[in-house]
């Protein structure tokens, strides 16, 4: 019964939407033109970065909050104390020395890539998200190679790193609010402020994304 209803509903939705999507009149507002027109005032040259960190920077601020929040929830859910540690031993032995060497070699390379992406973001595809993701990927790789342990509960310094990027963003927002509007950058400092935010975000995003993985994998973690 439920199955039938859901399938029927899904099919209806597809048919309705596909039918309605054809011969749609052109949109009355053309934002890409507005973005192009204001690009010089945004402080960066890459339009997507301009939207992400300037025109709709407020979305990004809240989005980082969502990410940080997810990490906090994972911490808050807690974990089973000393969950059957003996069942986890066998997997450890499977890690090959080749992987470990590979990981050791790749990590510095990935960090460099991350910095490149961060720097490139202001004028071509790339930016804090991609950079942060690469950093996180490096951490995941190190973890898989047994070189980086799972997190148990983060210490004060790590918490600072996790929340730091968000706090920098928030501070810039609060500062700009006192001057005028939220996240309204002065024209000449826009580029610098965006770079500051992006740098903070890269580190924090990398840490948070890595943290999502490293915290989740702790259930069968390094209790020894």
């Amino acid at each position: 019964m439920k199955r039938l209803l859901v399938v029927l509903g899904a099919v209806c939705l597809i048919v309705l939407l596909l039918g309605a999507m054809h011969d749609l009149a052109p949109a009355s507002v053309e934002l890409h033109a507005a973005v192009a027109a204001n690009l010089t005032a945004s402080g960066v040259e890459h339009p997507v970065t301009a939207v992400l960190l300037n025109f709709r920077g407020y979305d990004t601020l809240l989005e980082i909050a969502v990410l940080l929040l997810a990490l906090i929830v994972i911490l808050a859910i807690g974990r089973e104390e000393a969950s059957n540690a003996e069942a986890t031993v066998d997997v450890r032995l499977l890690v090959s020395p080749v992987l470990q060497t590979l990981a050791k070699l790749a990590t510095p390379l990935m960090i460099m890539v991350a910095f490149y992406l961060l720097w490139a973001g202001s004028f071509r595809p790339g930016g804090a998200f991609q950079a942060g993701a690469v950093l996180a990927a490096a951490a995941v790789l190190l973890h898989l190679a047994e070189l980086l342990p799972s997190w148990q509960s983060p210490g004060a310094r790590l918490r600072l790193g996790l929340a730091g990027g968000f706090l920098i963003f928030l501070a810039v927002g609060a500062g700009s609010l006192m001057q005028g509007a939220l996240l309204e950058y002065p024209l000449e400092q826009a580029g610098a402020l965006i770079l500051l935010i992006e740098s903070g975000l890269t580190i924090s995003l990398g840490l948070i994304l890595a943290g999502l993985f490293l915290l989740l994998s702790r259930d069968d973690g390094e209790t020894s």
Partner: protein, 473 residues
């Protein structure tokens, strides 16, 4: 001023996180006091000089994101802060030192409130999506935090409901952006006319349905009772009192805002939410009457009370319908927060989760029971209470538009509420069994619930200012 209502909770939430597990209560309470003051100041400003607007980044819609505070949003902000502060004080006294739910309580609450405040202020459909996710994930986290298998299962159910809800909403936003090239609600009001393409109708339907799922309107209510009934009392209170209202607020906003020219054309569409609301009133009350666990009873009562909110949709042609809806939001918000808080105290003191285990609490915990009773008065819609004013307004509107059915549903709903409220009170007034033990509880727990309940009653004596505020557009 309104932007600080968003930044402050974000600030104290991250501060509390950095301070470490189970820290951060004082920044939180300080922040909440400031927020309460800000919300009052904002409301006063709006009554004085009309709706306020803030262009984030200085760009203005449609390129940037606008924040708009009109009477409706200011009222919701006010309610949220009014409930959050007493509940924060309550929560501080509620969690034991070693309660795992306490570890990350403050950061989660902070993000939750930031999401709420941001949602109420936003005038941008996509930005609202982000706030919905912030709100939803924080709420799920609060339900799950430190809980056992039951809470985790409830949280998962809640999570999937909220994700599907916001997914449908986002698809609607995508279709709107595709059609008009903007997601600013202010711009869209003038763009969407009665001759809008079919795609916009589908978009509207998807958004409203998704939000109904998030509001737990019957028959999408399945996730609410386990989540609200299973969470720790301060969390249940916060979720039932304001979080479900946020998505209702959004439906209302869309209904009278961007989609207003559509809802005017389709005269039958307005009956759809009202029909579901009616069913919610009856089904929720029925389940509440049958419930054996106290918190389940209150959670099902939320399902029923949310039904009232959707009764206003056929009446929105009259000016007063919005006011009636907001009055009901306030009444239920304050009363339900008080009721969950009182229930938490009762359960803590008696160690009993069942309604049947409450015999004799009238004698042992009079203040808490009084709070429960006052909150019950509001839920039943008996005078003098905000719930009564809401009921009065609803019935009068229904009569003036000859919608007898709605008046009938409101009246019968009130009587059904009386059945489940008094099924608790009757138990409480029984003489205590000789072997019952009541552990002493902190006075803070008793009086914070009382303050909330008293507020829900006293608002029934003076609703003029609130109605004036809601009228500002």
């Amino acid at each position: 001023m309104m932007v600080w209502l968003i930044l402050l909770p974000l600030l104290w939430a991250s501060l509390a996180f950095m301070l470490g597990p189970s820290r951060g209560v004082w920044p939180a309470i300080a922040g909440l006091v400031a927020q309460l003051w800000l919300a009052f100041a904002l409301a006063a400003e709006i009554v004085g000089s009309g709706a306020a607007m803030h262009a984030v980044g200085g760009w203005g819609a449609p390129l940037g994101i606008d924040l708009v505070a009109d009477g409706l949003s200011a009222a919701m902000l006010l309610l949220t802060q009014c409930i959050a502060l007493p509940l924060a004080v309550y929560a501080h006294a509620y969690f034991k030192r070693d309660d795992p739910a306490r570890n990350y309580f403050w950061p989660l609450v902070g993000f939750l409130l930031a999401g709420l405040n941001a949602l109420f202020l936003s005038a941008d459909l996509f930005n609202i999506y982000v706030t919905l996710e912030l709100l939803g994930l924080a709420a799920v986290g609060l339900v799950a935090a430190g809980g056992g298998a039951q809470q985790i299962a409830a949280a998962l159910r809640y999570l999937f409901a909220t994700l599907v809800g916001s997914g449908a909403y986002l698809l609607g936003v995508a279709l709107i952006y595709g059609t008009y090239g903007t997601v600013s609600t202010v711009t869209l009001v003038s763009l969407i006319g009665a001759d809008a393409p079919d795609l916009v109708w589908i978009a509207g339907g998807l958004m409203v349905l998704g939000l109904m799922l998030k509001t737990a309107l019957f028959p999408f209510h399945f996730w609410l009772p386990p989540a609200h009934g299973g969470a720790p009392a301060p969390v249940s209170a916060l979720l039932s009192a304001v979080v479900v209202k946020a998505s209702f607020y959004l439906i209302l906003r869309l209904w009278v805002g961007p989609f207003s020219s559509l809802t005017v054309v389709a005269s039958l569409v307005v009956w759809f939410p009202a029909l579901l609301g009616t069913l919610a009133v009856f089904w929720g009350s029925y389940q509440a009457i049958r419930a054996e666990r106290l918190k389940m009873l209150i959670a099902y009562s939320t399902v029923a009370q949310l039904g009232y909110l959707f009764l206003i949709f056929p009446l929105l042609a009259s000016a007063g319908a919005l006011q009636a809806g907001i009055m009901q939001v306030f009444a239920h918000g304050l009363a339900k927060a008080a009721m969950f808080a009182a229930a938490g105290t009762l359960i803590k003191a008696t160690g009993q989760e069942m309604v049947a285990g409450l015999a004799g609490v009238a004698e042992r915990l009079p203040v808490t029971l009084f709070a429960f009773g006052l909150a019950g008065i509001t839920l039943m819609g008996l005078p003098p209470s905000a719930g009564f004013l809401a009921k009065w307004q609803l019935i009068e509107l229904a009569l003036s538009q000859q919608q007898w059915v709605i008046a009938f549903v409101v009246l019968v709903g009130g009587l059904l509420a009386a059945v489940y409220v008094f099924s608790v009170l009757r138990q409480a007034f029984l003489l205590a069994p000789a072997d019952s033990v009541v552990t002493p509880v902190s006075r803070t727990l008793e009086w914070t619930a009382f303050v909330l309940a008293a507020a829900s009653v006293l608002l029934g004596l003076r609703g003029v200012e609130l109605m004036q505020l809601v009228g500002v557009t």
